[in-house]
Symmetry: C2
Subunit: 107 residues, 2 copies
DNA sequence: CAGGAATATTCCTGTCAAGGAATATTGTTA
DNA sequence: TAACAATATTCCTTGACAGGAATATTCCTG
């Protein structure tokens, strides 16, 4: 059963952008805030939500806290999607069948 | 750019369950409500959100309205995930490399 | 057209999330 | 330890959203 907390966390545009930025590697709070034109407190608050959703982890480095993307929730999404992929693949298959049928009628 | 409306719609547990139920085929409002032990108005309201998010479509059939899952938003999620899949595949690759290394050291 | 079944909408209320501003905390360095 | 940089937290206000109850709408059938 898919955890809705992942969806809640990603439903907020700023947090989705955070995830996309962190795809390229860990980053400090300040850098994230600057990159997204956020005030630092808002950045911290959003990162907290991502942290509680398990979408990021944090590592203290000197004065800074580097946030790194965690892939587990995304893997879970991927697994959840698995059951739905065949729904649109079926359509392709049907289209495929249809095209084959047309082709054989052409002969 | 991934549409956050999809995530918002799926962030609500009842709506997620609706999507999962509709995976097996279209269903009327009443049947959905019964299946999820919801009152009819709540079912209609949640279906409206799913409709506006493009996650379902509706077809009138006599007195009933049958809701059917639309896969486009899910396909978009799948596409969005594509950029992240390599993140956990890389790990597997690294583990794979590591295991190969161990094995060759064993020789 | 009346009546009834299925569905949608409205109104109300309580809860929760988000931004702004201020402040607290933690860690570093002189 | 004092001062400073980086980050976290709190308080406040506002707006969105969910459930409950009542009602409106739509469509079919006699």
């Amino acid at each position: 059963m898919m955890d809705t907390m992942t969806f809640s966390a990603l439903a907020e545009p700023t947090r989705l952008r955070m995830v996309e930025i962190l795809k390229d590697g860990p980053m400090s709070v300040g850098d994230i805030a600057e990159r997204l034109a956020l005030r630092q407190p808002q950045a911290s608050k959003h990162l907290r939500v991502l942290l509680e959703a398990g979408l990021v982890e944090v590592e203290a480095a000197a004065n800074r806290r580097n946030y790194r993307l965690r892939t587990e929730p995304l893997e879970a999404m991927d697994t959840w999607l698995e059951a739905y992929r065949k729904l649109w693949n079926e359509r392709f298959d049907n289209l495929d069948d249809y095209l084959r049928q047309l082709q054989s009628e052409d002969k």
